[in-house]
């Protein structure tokens, strides 16, 4: 019984991610979500207070799933540069395969209120935490700027955001070389970042 309840909740969360990705957060109604999920209105309100509550839970689920996949693909034994390249490729692969998820997680989350933005910010901060490991490996002298990871993430997420807003999620993998360059150039400079960009091309 408990398993069924849990499953229904998950089905509703998945439905929320898809509907918001297609229609946008503002235009999405509870009716849309239960229709997509094939559940009753009663089931929806058994699990969630309202659309906003369900969206937050759906966003948390997406973040956990994306992190689990990206971390699983990044062997901790590899050098930082390889981990960053591999992690970025995994993330872009998820976004390209699931454009509705990408739209919900990157674009629509900004529209869904202050609490949603705070969770998005926490997720991005977790991501920049992984980048911070680069400091010890690359910069034992500690000369890199304090906010370098935030700026590198901003460069990458700006490019991704523009592609998603333009409806080009499926074409994101072709942007991989540029994304690798954007992520690495503040850490290692243009000559080495161009070299890593070439490796990213060869890997695809």
């Amino acid at each position: 019984m408990a398993a069924t309840t849990e499953t229904r909740r998950d089905v509703l969360l998945e439905a929320m991610v898809r509907v918001v990705g297609r229609k946008g957060y503002e235009a999405t109604s509870v009716a849309d979500v239960i229709e997509e999920a094939g559940t009753s209105r009663t089931t929806f309100y058994k699990h969630f207070d309202d659309k906003h509550d369900c969206f937050l839970a759906a966003y948390d689920m997406v973040v956990e799933r994306v992190f689990a996949t990206v971390v699983a693909e990044c062997d901790g034994e590899q050098p930082w540069l390889s981990r960053v390249r591999k992690g970025l490729a995994t993330l872009i692969g998820i976004f390209a395969r699931e454009p509705e998820l990408a739209q919900t997680a990157v674009v629509e989350v900004a529209v869904a209120g202050a609490e949603a933005r705070q969770r998005h910010w926490d997720a991005v901060t977790r991501f920049t935490g992984y980048l911070e490991d680069g400091r010890e490996e690359l910069d034992p002298g500690g000369e890199l700027p304090k906010h370098i990871s935030v700026m590198a993430t901003g460069a990458v997420s700006g490019l991704i955001f523009d592609e998603l807003v333009a409806g080009r999620a499926a074409q994101l993998p072709s942007l991989m070389p540029d994304l690798v360059f954007a992520m690495l150039v503040p850490f290692i400079g243009p000559a080495a970042a161009t070299e890593e960009m070439r490796r990213a091309v060869q890997a695809t």
Partner: protein, 197 residues
């Protein structure tokens, strides 16, 4: 007369949205803060979104013109970038509510506002494209380099504004200058420029 009412509504949009957030702001909030009637509001704007977008355009235009003017006071490209960034960061620090509107709230105001915001950022690319001519290997850089640099700057600046630290943005000039120059001139030269005052 009609113009001053419009200006009052634009100012109200800046203030109210900064305080309540875009989603929670109503037309009634705007008319109350501006001291104009609901009828006047709908004579001037179709809806809340139209009023907000007009306020955003005004803020973005003012910022872009100030940055462009500062940029043009200098000759060498790194000096031009530094002058533009100084004016940008100081403007945002002096007017934290405008800063919020132009870099944080615009992202929360729906798809039209988001597209408007991204288009406004695209208009900043020529400032950085000059770096491709300035740097020895500039022509070999990815075509998107200027957009990356803009993303790096706005990512950090928006974070600081959201955290309530807009007035301390000028302190971040060395770091932001480093991040904007490094793709073009490399870490050594970027660090040197960032260290100069």
């Amino acid at each position: 007369m009609a113009r001053s009412q419009r200006d009052r509504l634009l100012d109200a949009a800046v203030d109210v949205v900064a305080e309540k957030g875009y989603g929670a702001t109503t037309v009634a909030d705007l008319t109350k803060a501006a001291g104009v009637s609901r009828t006047t509001f709908y004579e001037l704007f179709e809806d809340k979104e139209a009023c907000f977008l007009a306020a955003y355009d005004m803020a973005a235009d003012v910022l872009a013109r100030r940055v462009a003017a500062a940029f043009d006071t200098q000759e060498a490209w790194p000096d031009r970038v530094r002058a533009g960034l100084i004016v940008l960061l100081e403007s945002l620090a002096v007017e934290p509510q405008i800063a919020r509107l132009a870099l944080v709230d615009v992202g929360s105001a729906g798809p039209r506002a988001q597209r408007r915001y991204r288009a406004a950022l695209q208009r900043m690319t020529p400032f950085f494209d000059e770096g491709r001519d300035f740097a020895a290997a500039g022509r070999r850089l990815p075509a998107n380099t200027s957009r990356m640099v803009i993303g790096a700057v706005t990512g950090l600046v928006a974070d600081e504004i959201e955290a309530g630290r807009a007035e301390r943005l000028p302190d971040l000039l060395p770091e932001i200058l480093f991040a904007t120059l490094v793709p073009y001139v490399g870490p050594k030269a970027a660090a040197k420029e960032a260290g100069e005052r």
